[in-house]
Symmetry: C2
Subunit: 215 residues, 2 copies
Amino acid sequence: MTDANGAAYGDGAAAAAGDGTSADAGSAPADVFARRPKRADARRNYEKLLSAAREAFAEAGVSASLEDIARRARVGIGTLYRHFPTRQDLFESVYVDEVEALCRAADELAGLPPWDALAGWLRRFVSYAATKRAIAEALNHDSPVFATCRKAIDAAGRPLLRRAQESGDARPDASFDDVLRLVGGVTMYPFADPAQLERVLTMALDGIRVRRPPG
Amino acid sequence: MTDANGAAYGDGAAAAAGDGTSADAGSAPADVFARRPKRADARRNYEKLLSAAREAFAEAGVSASLEDIARRARVGIGTLYRHFPTRQDLFESVYVDEVEALCRAADELAGLPPWDALAGWLRRFVSYAATKRAIAEALNHDSPVFATCRKAIDAAGRPLLRRAQESGDARPDASFDDVLRLVGGVTMYPFADPAQLERVLTMALDGIRVRRPPG
DNA sequence: TTGCAAACGGAGGCAACCCTCCGTATGGTG
DNA sequence: CACCATACGGAGGGTTGCCTCCGTTTGCAA
């Protein structure tokens, strides 16, 4: 954690990912990782650990105790370590789950009009970012898993932005990265009042939209 | 940290703070806290600890080791505990420093046109938020110090927003809280590229501005 | 210069966490 | 049903951080 180069959503450099392919490219990387165990009991414990970890990280932040996670999952500490030898492994697995869901969402929104599709996906992104919040700072940004996830998100969301830009709805000078930063930042702290989240999100989306003469 | 009610910039409820008073209200609360020690050596160590803490929190996050902070400050661990009996005390002291600077900035910008003053202050707020980032999640939101700081920020920034709204520059449906959320979120993760920060910040400010017919 | 209140430093007891190791339990296959 | 590869649990040793306590040092006022 001393490196302090927290390039949250990437640096905007690695653009050429799922370039030409349309929005359904998001489903492709889903099976690149996901190394679930085979035996029934092992698989059960694996899932229990994963959701306990998601919970614990959301609650206590990055430094949630691994022993506590095992306790929540009602599983021995040894079992935790067998499935996830390092803390990083646990982060990554939780993170990957979230990314997969996000990519799936892009597919489902592909049928809508350009701006609605983008806005809808960004709304979904907000809830992803909320989960990610805690994990993000601890993620090892050099890990191949992280890189793959970045590409998957790109492949899922970038076409939505481009489409909205081509239709004249989204401002052309905004990069995909810029947009994620703006929208993702909004939920860095949890909102007590969902109505406020809605207001703030609207402002953010307005900042992304092209300014049209009213009427 | 189990409470998980991270109401980041307040909930927008406590509106009536430094109401009628103009922008210079920001300087008032500066001496409400700031309980500096008297003896020369004590004062010296106090300052050394404070800046060591600021450094450590920025680098290692909330859970920076207190022993490490003492080490950085080249001071015995006992000295740290005498000045700051609890971890909270240390957070608060660092935080208060930052808030004071932010309030001073509001005074300095008071002469500019409404929108420029608001935008300028929000830019300043961004760098405050960056420092605050690590500390924020650990701040005890019930502490009187925190409440005082909230009021000070309100007193400093709210008039700027109102002025910009009255002049027709800022959208009238945005609360002060909404604005801080939006702008503050932007820097939740540090930017590697300052140009990107500028782009994203511009989008955020555009989201706050009233949409005028172009030309 | 002297005296003492104020401040200093860090040893050490305690708690929490990390991770390994190994004896035990069990799913699933032949 | 019997076997064994696979998986389980948790005791325990090592590390680190928290915080208190107390003998020593130091600023400063008389």
